[in-house]
Amino acid sequence: MAVLQGAEAKLYLGGDFYGRPCIIKERFQKNYRHPILDKALTSQRIKSEVRANLRCRIAGIQTPTIFMVNFDTNSIYMEEIQDAVTVRQHINTVQAAELNPASACSQLKPLAEAIGRTLAKMHTSNIIHGDLTTSNMLLEGDPSELSLFLIDFGLSSFEASAEDKGVDLYVLERAFLSSHPNSQELFDCILAAYTDQTQDKNACKEVISKLDEVRLRGRKRTMVG
């Protein structure tokens, strides 16, 4: 069984759950933090992950099916999305193959729009992902089919406030621009599709203005030695 180690969990790949391809996500103990804090965070994140995963599916967003949770081993057993690449890998592949940045961008535009629409659905259901990055989005099968899956809901929460949604988008923007240089235009596409897809225009306006506010907190904040 292949093992991948992420920042907070080990992923055991290639398992089998009653005949279905399964991965086990085990949140291991973090010895650097206080045991009480570690226990609280681990169990809280397993619960958040499972809850948000289910809520997303109800909202019509693709996520891996969760088969089982073992609280003794802090493990989630879930469907392995086969033949998938992360959005991060896909963007890197396209950008590496296409020397002209403008045409790479136009190739990736449909993907950016699909991401924007998915996030709009998610926020309309008041789901805050909490760790939106291009590594936490998968494309199943042929990337041009845009079969997008959201994963890694450990930092998620269920909030209706514009502040939380704005911060969620801010986290994605930061991760997006730092992982993919020269991609501001793509992120703008995500936001445009997000705005377009959200039915409640007033609520959406509020989220975007919160996003601007949070950006300002980071960028223009007085920073003292």
Partner: protein, 335 residues
């Protein structure tokens, strides 16, 4: 052979250091210390810097055993920082540069910390956790830029610790953070408090409000001692910092981590980072208070790198700015 002198005064430390091709020749510093329960105000801090600038400069030259004519470049902190202290220190740098007829290089304070950390520890391409009274950032280098992967979305971690020290009326000598660290060693009981991580970003303002309000009551009722609260606060905020650093390392596939900035000399933070690093097969690089805390040599070192790559700041552009992002600087000296 290039000799650089650096002037740092962005916060309450006035530091002047001399660096000669990667060797720190001198690095004296004078700190403005306020009474317990009080922070430092820009006006009084600037006054402190003006009062001590010449004596610290004299000390820097004497300790290095360097004459002004041997200096090749004068470096100063352009920002970020507090306006008045920055300006008063830059004025000294501009004055000596003209007196000695030397070129000037304006340096970003955060870049100063990173370059000093790299020089002292020998880290090649680390993920950097930069933690101080004014800054909390997780930084990694790519493509001529120190990119900010994560940061605080409100106050800095050092600010959070300093303000809690004021609640407890701890001494600001040598620094409030140091005194919290000493008390925390005696803490036994862990109090759970708000833990706010959003992706690779953190937030401390809610946590600070929570503990500011709770602390006096908890101490009065003897439920928790001040030591317990310092311990719990450190455990919580440091765990948040380690978590976002680890996430950035996983994201960037990095196996080196460097801690810089004033909070970076906290031994407990270094210890926690060390555990995280060893569990993922990475190496931790950290320095002590001579180089973690704001100092002149770090400005000289960053300026030295910039100068060697051909950067010189024209005199009419030797201004200061309170807001100067780490990622605004083009890193001309790294490949």
């Amino acid at each position: 052979m290039v000799v650089a002198i650096g002037f740092e005064g962005s916060a309450n430390k006035l530091g002047i250091g001399i660096v000669k091709d990667g060797v720190v020749l001198s690095n004296p510093r004078h700190t403005y210390i306020t009474p317990p329960g009080q922070g430092f105000l820009p006006k009084d801090t600037a006054k402190h810097h003006r009062e001590h600038a010449l004596s610290v400069l004299k000390l820097a030259l004497e300790e290095a055993n360097i004459k002004p004519e041997e200096i090749d470049v004068v470096c100063y902190t352009k920002g970020p920082g507090m306006g008045a202290p920055l300006v008063s220190t830059a004025l000294v740098a501009r004055t000596v540069a003209q007196l000695w007829n030397k070129p000037i290089v304006a340096v970003n304070h955060c870049i100063g910390h990173i370059e000093m950390g790299r020089l002292i520890t020998g880290a090649q391409n680390p993920t950097v956790l930069y933690v101080s009274g004014g800054n909390t950032q997780v930084i990694a280098y790519s493509d001529k830029c120190y990119r900010i992967f994560g940061e605080t979305i409100d106050i800095a971690v050092g600010n959070c610790l300093d303000r809690f020290a004021r609640v407890l009326k701890l001494s600001n000598d040598p620094s409030p953070g140091y005194n919290i660290e000493q008390l925390a060693k005696k803490g036994r009981q862990y109090l759970e408090m708000p833990y706010v991580v959003k992706g690779m970003d953190v937030s401390f303002s809610g946590l600070l409000s929570y503990i500011e309000e709770k602390a006096p009551k908890l101490i009065e009722s003897n439920a928790y001692t001040p030591e317990d609260l310092c311990f719990s606060l450190q455990e919580t905020v440091f765990a948040m910092l380690i978590e976002i650093t680890e996430r950035a390392m996983a994201h960037c596939d990095s196996n080196e981590v460097l801690i810089v900035g004033g909070v970076g000399c906290n031994k407990r933070l270094q210890e926690m980072m060390g555990v995280m690093a060893s569990e993922r097969g990475a190496t931790l690089y950290a320095t002590d208070e001579r180089f973690c805390i704001d100092n002149g040599a770090m400005i000289a070192q960053a300026g030295w790198e910039m100068f060697r790559s051909g950067v010189v700041t024209p005199l009419d552009q030797t201004t200061c700015t309170q807001r100067f992002r780490t990622d605004e600087v083009e890193v001309t000296w790294r490949s």
